[in-house]
Each structure stands twice: as structure tokens, then as C-alpha cells.
């Protein structure tokens, strides 16, 4: 069978040789870090006008990750394009003619996209945290404070899992238009809106993004209470990811290219 390292190397060449990889990941980084920095600056300046209860439940770590809500859109584009452009361009037929073992092809693609997302996600989350805290002045959290490292590390994990979820979903949908058309509105509009609707929000808590974002919270309040903890949340997200990836594999395995 095809040599796994050869297929990995090939997928690495593929991913690094298209522009969308660079601009989506750079955009995700810039938006997440930049927006987090701006928000931290605003909080620092407005601190005196905040209510006592707001001050009591202020979560400097989570505040610095404010930008992920927007930055993750670029990650969604990255995850979708990694696999869906194979279909939209017809490259999939050339790829599968070179690597007819579809499992190996898919595994390599997922691994390369996942590893790249992990590196970029971790860099983004740690830089976001340190820059945000620097701008929060005296209200900042330290990486050594309880649960803070978990939240920062978890933010990188969240970004990686989000990308993998999109890779799996796009493998099922086989089209960039469909993939982006469904996933972008879902994560940007549907999920955040349902989070605010009474009753429905108890279901929405189990959506991949909402469960996964739990890990970025350090301060627990009655507002952000969930039946699961931070690691439980990431586990729920991981289950979603596994399901999406498995679905994508079944589609790739069974359908004509």
C-alpha cells in the first residue's frame, strides 16, 4: 500500500502550495489576536465605569479570546477549502489516481490540516493571551493562575478541532459553496442566536462550538453554567469532530470521485 509518509509529504506540498492556506490562517491569526487586543484595551480603559458585580465576575483570560468568534470564520474557510477544492477543481480525480487507497489519502489530508491548525491555533491562542493580558494592565491574569493555562491551551485545541470538524463536514458536502454556505452561517449566526433563546439554549450547549468554547472560561458564573466542565466540553466537541470525519470518510469511500 501507499507509503504513509509519502502521502503525508504530498499532502503537505498541496496545502502549502495554495494561497488560500496562507490567507485564511493569517486572517484567523490577525483577527483573533487583534480583536482580543482591542477588547482588552477597552476593558482596561472602561474599568472604573464597570459595575461591582461585573468586576467580580470579570474573566481576563476569556476576555482576551473575544476575537475567536470572528477569527474562527477564517478557520472554517481553511478547513472547508482544504478538502472541498479537491472536488470543485477536479483535482480529486488526479489525487485518487495517484493514491487510490482512499483511507490513506483521507487520513493524510486530515492529519496535515489538523497539524497545521494545531500549530497555528496554539500560536494564535498564546499570543492572543499574552498580548491581551499586557493590555489589561493591572486586571490581567497570569498564565500560572489556576485554570488559566488550561484555558489558553484549550483555545488552541478548540481552533484545531473546529478546523477538523469543517474538514469532515466538507468531505461530506464535497463542495466549497455548500460547505461555506452551511458552516459559516451556522457558526456565526445560528449557534450564537440559539444560545440566547430560552429552552433551546439547553440544546445549543451541545453544539460543537459552544461545548468546545467552555474550555476558554476561567471564571464560572450562573450565566455560563453548563452541565459539563471544560474537558467535558472539549470531549463533546471531539465527538462531533469524530462523527464529521467518519461521515466524510464514508462519503469519500463509497461515492464515485
Amino acid at each position: 500500500m501507499a507509503s504513509p509518509s509519502a502521502v503525508l509529504q504530498s499532502e503537505w506540498t498541496k496545502i502549502r502550495s495554495v494561497r488560500s492556506t496562507v490567507w485564511t490562517l493569517v486572517l484567523a491569526f490577525v483577527v483573533t489576536v487583534g480583536l482580543g487586543a482591542v477588547i482588552c484595551l477597552v476593558f482596561n480603559n472602561q474599568w472604573s465605569s464597570m459595575s461591582d458585580s461585573d468586576k467580580a465576575t470579570f474573566d481576563p483570560t476569556n476576555t482576551s479570546f473575544f476575537g475567536t468568534s470572528l477569527g474562527q470564520l477564517a478557520l472554517i474557510v481553511f478547513g472547508v477549502l482544504v478538502i472541498a477544492t479537491e472536488y470543485s477543481t477536479g483535482m480529486i480525480r488526479t489525487s485518487l489516481a495517484a493514491v487510490p487507497q482512499r483511507g490513506s489519502f483521507y487520513a493524510a489530508k486530515v492529519a496535515v490540516a489538523g497539524l497545521l491548525a494545531l500549530v497555528v491555533g496554539m500560536a494564535t491562542s498564546f499570543i492572543t493571551f499574552f498580548l491581551g493580558q499586557a493590555l489589561l494592565g493591572s486586571h490581567k491574569a497570569h498564565i500560572g493562575d489556576p485554570h488559566v493555562f488550561r484555558a489558553v491551551f484549550g483555545a488552541g485545541l478548540y481552533m484545531t478541532l473546529l478546523v477538523l470538524f469543517c474538514v469532515g463536514a466538507a468531505a461530506m458536502l464535497r463542495s466549497p459553496m455548500l460547505g461555506l454556505g452551511i458552516l459559516m452561517p451556522f457558526f456565526f449566526l445560528v449557534s450564537p442566536i440559539l444560545r440566547a433563546v430560552p429552552k433551546v439554549k439547553n440544546v445549543a450547549k451541545y453544539f460543537p462550538d459552544q461545548a468546545g468554547q467552555k474550555i476558554m472560561q476561567v471564571v464560572q458564573t450562573s450565566d455560563n453554567h453548563t452541565p459539563y466542565g471544560p474537558w467535558g466540553g472539549i470531549l463533546i466537541m471531539a465527538v462531533w469532530v469524530a462523527a464529521a470525519l467518519a461521515g466524510g470518510f464514508l462519503v469519500l469511500k463509497n461515492r464515485d470521485a
Binding site: M1, A2, S3, A6, V7, Q9, S10, E11, T13, K14, S17, V18, R19, S20, T85, E86, T89, G90, M91, I92, R93, T94, S95, L96, A97, A98, V99, P100, Q101, D256, A257
Partner: protein, 355 residues
């Protein structure tokens, strides 16, 4: 695994249905090594579908196709066995030609210097670092061929490689295929142009509506199908007819009043006419083209003809006539003409304005 001596492609009852549409219908044939095998069929005959199944891209509904005794998916580094160009557009246009070939090479552990070599072979070295979405049709085709050549494979497969190319490009591909076969490689190339195949292929496989219509050597096909005849016209048709009949020739009168005499020598006929003092206005040796033979063969299975009937002015040139006379859809193309019968209908009046 017991491999055959030389790599070959074997199809066994290969069938593909899309819904209730049968695109490929129990195809059984073997593509033999060392020659160019032409895979001919009109539009929609199932050529591309057959090739996709060969590469394991589409799963057969039933039947089997093997390369060197193995399924395509059992080949561990397939580009080293078989290089294929299905559709030159099957590339990510945002990737440079070099990187496109590099990622294919890496997946099959083909050394990097091969990328430069094949780029040189197809003449794309100068644009190797350009993204392929800016390529012209011809450049795209060359990139696809470069990918097929990458693993230096013994078998090469091209799906309508000359489609949309200018004469120079066509010439180049033709010579490339001949060169590859001359090196002893197996070349399997599809086309819907018989004339093109006559120039490159040694063996012919003809399909129509997914079914095998012919599996023959090109020499045989030409021998059986390019009948020659002599066309004669005279202001004294009755007299000429009598003279010819007396000399033992079978005469076919065409719609424009000319005579066609099969398998006769023009010089002999001219002498004969002179001896009997018959005035001739035309005496021309003719050859039915292979294109016409091909159309004759596939007429029944042509799927998409241009409307049911042709405008009157266009009826002269055998081919379109034959297509227009095609069996209406729904009538089973079941009784395929056995080999001996090809071209048997050449006597059809009006069908023989050879080229």
C-alpha cells in the same frame, strides 16, 4: 502474485449504470502491451466512464477491470505502472505546475528530478512556477501529460488528448504517443475521430452506447473498410451501363446520375470506354474514408445526433446521411454487425463521395 509478462489492461463484463442509464454495458476486451490501442466511440459512448473505472475512480456496477492482474486500488504506487490523462482540467488552478507535479511525485515516491524532466519533455519549463489557472488549453493538456509521464509508467492512458488543440498541439501529441509505443509501452487512447486513430493506433476498440462494437487491428479495419471504387459520368449513361455490364462490372447509380464501380481500375475502365467510343465526363478513382466506415459502424449507437433529419443541401457526403438514418432511440442496437459486414453497405447510392 503471478503477473503476466508485460503489463496489460483486462476488462471482464465491465458495466456501469447511472440510475437507469447504462453508460458501460458488459465490456470485455484486453489492451495489449507495446502498441497504441485506439478506443473509439461517438459522444456519450462510455469511453471516459470506462477509463474512470479503470482508475478506480468510479466503482463498476458489475464486472471487473484489472491492470496486470490487479485492481487499480491494489497498486501501491500506481503512477509507476500507469499514467493517465483523463481531463486536463483536473488540477487545482491555484497551484503552480511545478508544485502540482511535485505533490503527485511525492505521493508515489518518484524522485524530484522527474518533475523537472517531464516539464522539459512537455515544454513547460518556462512556466513551471506559474499557477496553472492561467494556462491555455494546450498548456493545460501538456501539464496533464507531464503528470501521466511522471512515474515513467509502462502503460499510458489518454482520454481524447487532442480535443480542442491546435494543429501544432495535435501533431505534438500524435508524435508523443507514437514515440511512447515505439519504446514498447502500452498506450490506450480514446477519440471520436477515426482519422486521428488511423494515424496513431495499431489496434482498435470501438464502442457505442457502452457496448463493444469492434475489437480489431487497425490494418484489418482499413483493409475491410476502405473499399475503393471508380466514379464515372457520361452523357450516354445507357450505353456506358451496357458496356460496363457486358464487361462484368457491377454498376451502382448514384442520386446525381453518376456510376460507381466497385473494386475496378480506373485505367481499365477508361480503356474500355474508349474502345466502345463512349464519351466520359468523369472518371475518378475514389476511396471511402475510414471516418465513414466508423460512422457506419456506430450509426446505430449514436446517441446524440443533430436533430432527426438534415437540411437537404447537406445530404451528399455519406457520413451525415448515415447518421441521419440512424436507428431511432429505443430500438435495440443488439445485433451488432459482425466483422465481415463492415463496409458491406458501401454500395449505398450516394454514400461514396470519398476524400
Amino acid at each position: 502474485m503471478l503477473a503476466s509478462l508485460a503489463p496489460m489492461i483486462e476488462l471482464q463484463g465491465l458495466t456501469k449504470r447511472y440510475g437507469d442509464k447504462t453508460a458501460v454495458d458488459h465490456l470485455t476486451f484486453t489492451v495489449r502491451p507495446g502498441v497504441v490501442t485506439g478506443f473509439l466511440g461517438p459522444n456519450g459512448a462510455g469511453k471516459s466512464t470506462t477509463m474512470r473505472m479503470l482508475l478506480g475512480l468510479d466503482a463498476p456496477t458489475s464486472g471487473d477491470v484489472r491492470i496486470d492482474g490487479r485492481h487499480y486500488s491494489q497498486l501501491s504506487e500506481p503512477l509507476k505502472y500507469i499514467g493517465a490523462l483523463l481531463d486536463a482540467k483536473d488540477v487545482h488552478g491555484g497551484r503552480t505546475a511545478y508544485n502540482h507535479l511535485l505533490c503527485l511525485a511525492q505521493s508515489n515516491r518518484i524522485p524530484r528530478h522527474r518533475v523537472d524532466e517531464v516539464l522539459e519533455t512537455v515544454g513547460l519549463t518556462a512556466v513551471a512556477r506559474k499557477r496553472s489557472k492561467g494556462f491555455s488549453l494546450g498548456m493545460g493538456q501538456r501539464l496533464g501529460i507531464a503528470a501521466a509521464l511522471l512515474g515513467d509508467p509502462e502503460i499510458l492512458m489518454f482520454d481524447e488528448p487532442v480535443n480542442g488543440l491546435d494543429p501544432e498541439g495535435i501533431h505534438w501529441i500524435r508524435n508523443l504517443m507514437k514515440g511512447l509505443a515505439a519504446q514498447g509501452r502500452t498506450v490506450f487512447v480514446s477519440s471520436h475521430l477515426m482519422s486521428e486513430m488511423a494515424l496513431t493506433a495499431e489496434h482498435l476498440i470501438v464502442i457505442g452506447r457502452g457496448r463493444l462494437l469492434a475489437d480489431t487491428s487497425m490494418a484489418d479495419f482499413i483493409e475491410k473498410n476502405s473499399r475503393s471504387f471508380v466514379r464515372m459520368r457520361s452523357p450516354q449513361p445507357e450505353r456506358l451501363k451496357d458496356v460496363l455490364a457486358a464487361a462484368g462490372h457491377t454498376v451502382v447509380t448514384t442520386s446525381d446520375g453518376a456510376f460507381e464501380i466497385q473494386d475496378a481500375d480506373a485505367a481499365d475502365l477508361g480503356t474500355l470506354a474508349a474502345q466502345h467510343q463512349v464519351v466520359l465526363h468523369e472518371l475518378s478513382p475514389q476511396r471511402a474514408s475510414l471516418e465513414e466506415a466508423f460512422m457506419q459502424l456506430t450509426a446505430e449507437s449514436v446517441e446524440y445526433h443533430a436533430g432527426g433529419s438534415l437540411p437537404p443541401g447537406q445530404g451528399g457526403a455519406g457520413g451525415p446521411d448515415v447518421i441521419a438514418q440512424g436507428v431511432p432511440a429505443g430500438q435495440a442496437p443488439g445485433q451488432q454487425p459482425p466483422a465481415q459486414e463492415w463496409g458491406a453497405q458501401w454500395r449505398n447510392p450516394g454514400s461514396g463521395k470519398g476524400r
